[in-house]
């Protein structure tokens, strides 16, 4: 009955509701991570040596690689949106596929990193963990969960793009894209915080 009425009109802000809601949700995600970063800042100052020693044990080369992978997948994500809007389904399929692949690549590298840590007896919260590794697993873990959560709809879109008319909802991809860039964005902060800010002498002394 509402179709005849003027109730269901264009969004007043000209921003599609899904997109606006995604931005609001990302604001909330930002605050979620800011809780972790806040705690990180506070506790790092009280435990400088522990954080230095822990950070020195991380593999910054793998992490740099992962940064490249995520940046790349951000690019392919943006490109896939562009091509879907241009109704170019094949290119869309290619790029959304590449993005998903990027997600996989990221997780694989992450897994290599984690298993090396487990191998060295570093688990979150076992008796001999250090506070630094609690943060390491907390932040990268939640980030990885976000990566996985993004890959699920992404994979779905990839498979849908094989159907006859291709994937039909550009705005959904755009919304997902916002999310994916956010995941990238969080990594941009996590990377230097965990891997790069090492005090040199602690790195030597601590291990």
């Amino acid at each position: 009955m509402s179709s005849a009425l003027n109730l269901a009109h264009e969004p007043l802000t000209k921003i599609p509701s899904g997109k606006l809601a995604m931005w609001a949700f990302l604001a909330s995600e930002l605050m979620f991570f800011s809780g972790f970063f806040g705690a990180f800042i506070v506790l790092r100052s009280g435990n400088y040596d522990v954080f230095g020693a822990g950070s020195a044990m991380l593999d910054w080369k793998l992490a740099t690689l992962n940064t490249f992978i995520l940046i790349g997948s951000s690019l392919t994500m943006a490109l896939s949106i562009y091509h879907l809007e241009k109704k170019n389904n094949n290119m869309f399929r290619l790029f959304i596929g590449l993005t998903t692949l990027g997600g996989f690549g990221f997780l694989i590298v992450k897994w290599i990193e984690y298993s090396a840590k487990f191998h060295h007896g570093l688990f979150p919260g076992q008796e001999h963990h250090t506070l630094f590794f609690s943060f390491y697993f907390l932040m990268t873990g939640f980030h990885a969960v976000h990566v996985i959560a993004g890959m699920i709809p992404m994979g779905y879109m990839f498979f849908r793009s094989f159907s006859k008319d291709g994937y039909p909802y550009p705005w959904k991809v755009e919304t997902l894209g916002l999310y994916w860039h956010f995941v990238d964005l969080m990594w941009i902060f996590i990377f230097p915080a965990l891997y790069l800010m090492i005090p040199y002498h602690a790195a030597v002394a601590g291990h």
Binding site: M1, N6, S17, S28, M31, S34, V50, E127
Partner: protein
Amino acid sequence: MNTTAAALGVHADHVGANEHAHEHHHELPWYRKYLFSTDHKVIAKQFMISSFFFLFVGGMFALFIRWQLAYPGQPIPVIGHILPDTWVTEPGSGVITPEFYAQLLSMHGTVMVFLVIIPFATGMFGNFCIPLMLGTDDMALPRLNMWSFWLLPPGGLIMFAGFFTQTGYAGAGWTSYPPLSALTQFPVFTITGQTLWLIAVFLIGFSSILGAVNYVTTILNKRAKGMGLFDMPLTVWALFITAIMVTLGTPVLASGLAMLFFDNFLHTSFFLPDHLVSATGHGFEVGTGQPILFQHVFWFYSHPAVYIMILPLMGVVSDVLSVFSRKPVYGYKAMVFSLVGIATLGFIVWGHHMFQSGMNPLLGTTFMLSTIVIAVPSSIKTFNWLGTIWRGNIHFSAALLSALSFVSMFIIGGLSGIFMASAPVDIFIHDTYFIVAHIHYVLFGGSLFGIFAGIYYWYPKMFGKMLSETWAKRHVFWSFVFFNGTFFPMHVLGVGGHMRRIYDPNVYDFLKGMQPMNEFITVCAIGLGFTQLILVGNIIYHIKYGKKAPRNPWNANTLEWAAPAHPGHGNFDRDITVYRGPYEYSVPGRELDYWPQWEPGKSISVHHHTVAVD
């Protein structure tokens, strides 16, 4: 013809008389209609039912607490012997144990805050009022809306599942300060009541974030034609500000809960210092966490949360007062700006809960000043409410009486907040019953009476039936009386130094003289609990047997009253265009004392008066 009907507005009640014809458009299976519905009105009712259920549970917990305080060492009547003889009651006696007492008060606080007031205030009113008052067909993202409800019952269930763990419910207070909430005598990967509590609150928080995201989007994107932001009723404004606070505040709590969860479940040490000594705990050597950090994170959310719990009701009360005084809200813009002010300041005052916590006293000074400043927007609101009824033509309906109870109880609760806001005064009254009195004056006397007002006001639109005004007034009256009997004396206990969260005050010599007062409180509390049965009975009985409600029973202006008496999916049966603000009551030059927003007509504003022109 459509336009004339619209123009006639509420006079066209007969237009809506057979509106139910519309509902049978496309029949949905029952579970899509009642359970997994995406209709905001159904979701609002779901929130209402679950909140009432949890109110009952939380209230029962409160009565157990009260029994123990008034009659320590005596078995709980009736129920005492049903309860298991483990950590719940002393074997064979039916007397609750200290452990169980701690769990009761923790669960009471948590349930009331997270499962009663927040779902009532944002979940129920948010869902019901926003689309209807904006004159639109539904939320911007109906499916998301459904999810925001369906995360709540699992959250509640998980929390209550704590009862079946080895140690029972979470027992560290609703604030769950570590190390208490992180230390367990069990190895890693053991699930305790506290673990479940953390998961549950996390889920509930997620539920309110999803809801809030939706509200923000809907309010920005889906207002009826012609409706600017400053044509929105204050209820919607309040819900809008609240939703923003939820979006920005709740995730911070979630991050704190996540860290606490790892401390509790995996024995990390975010909030645990090194070398803790306890018979059961685990000491760390590597890295020093900080217990106070959790308090910062917790109150960064939970102070805004107390405003999350009251702002929507402030909006509701403004609407109700205006409608039943037949007068515009005094200082509409000031009301909006004070909402914004409360919300903004609300994010920088959290430290007032931590004056005695051992954070740097310099911060105590800053937080004291900011806290005192936040009372200013609250006083603006109070005076504007008084201004609203000033020179009105007050109809004493149950909704108005509840709203006035809200205002008066909020004043008392707010004034007791001023004592605590002064850090040196807080030294003595912190963690005493003075605080408990404050909590209940603002949360029960404030929020819950606001919720009563909202229910009495919107019931006709929710269920298409009228409530019994007589019984409603009885309920409000007795609630008011028993409420004050229960919670006013708590101020006195607090001044006497009576600590909160203690199982048996008689351990202390200086508290011994207060036993009679505790008994008086308990008797009133029982009365208060039973009085709520009137409300529930009234609601349930009149869903079926109530008089059919007209479209606009209160002769109100806002858009929900343009909808059919019992709106179906899609809400409206007419085009909605908004011509003026929501509060044009008693406009000179008009015969009727109200002027709905959807009714065309011109007016001018002369010296703060509105005058109709033809």
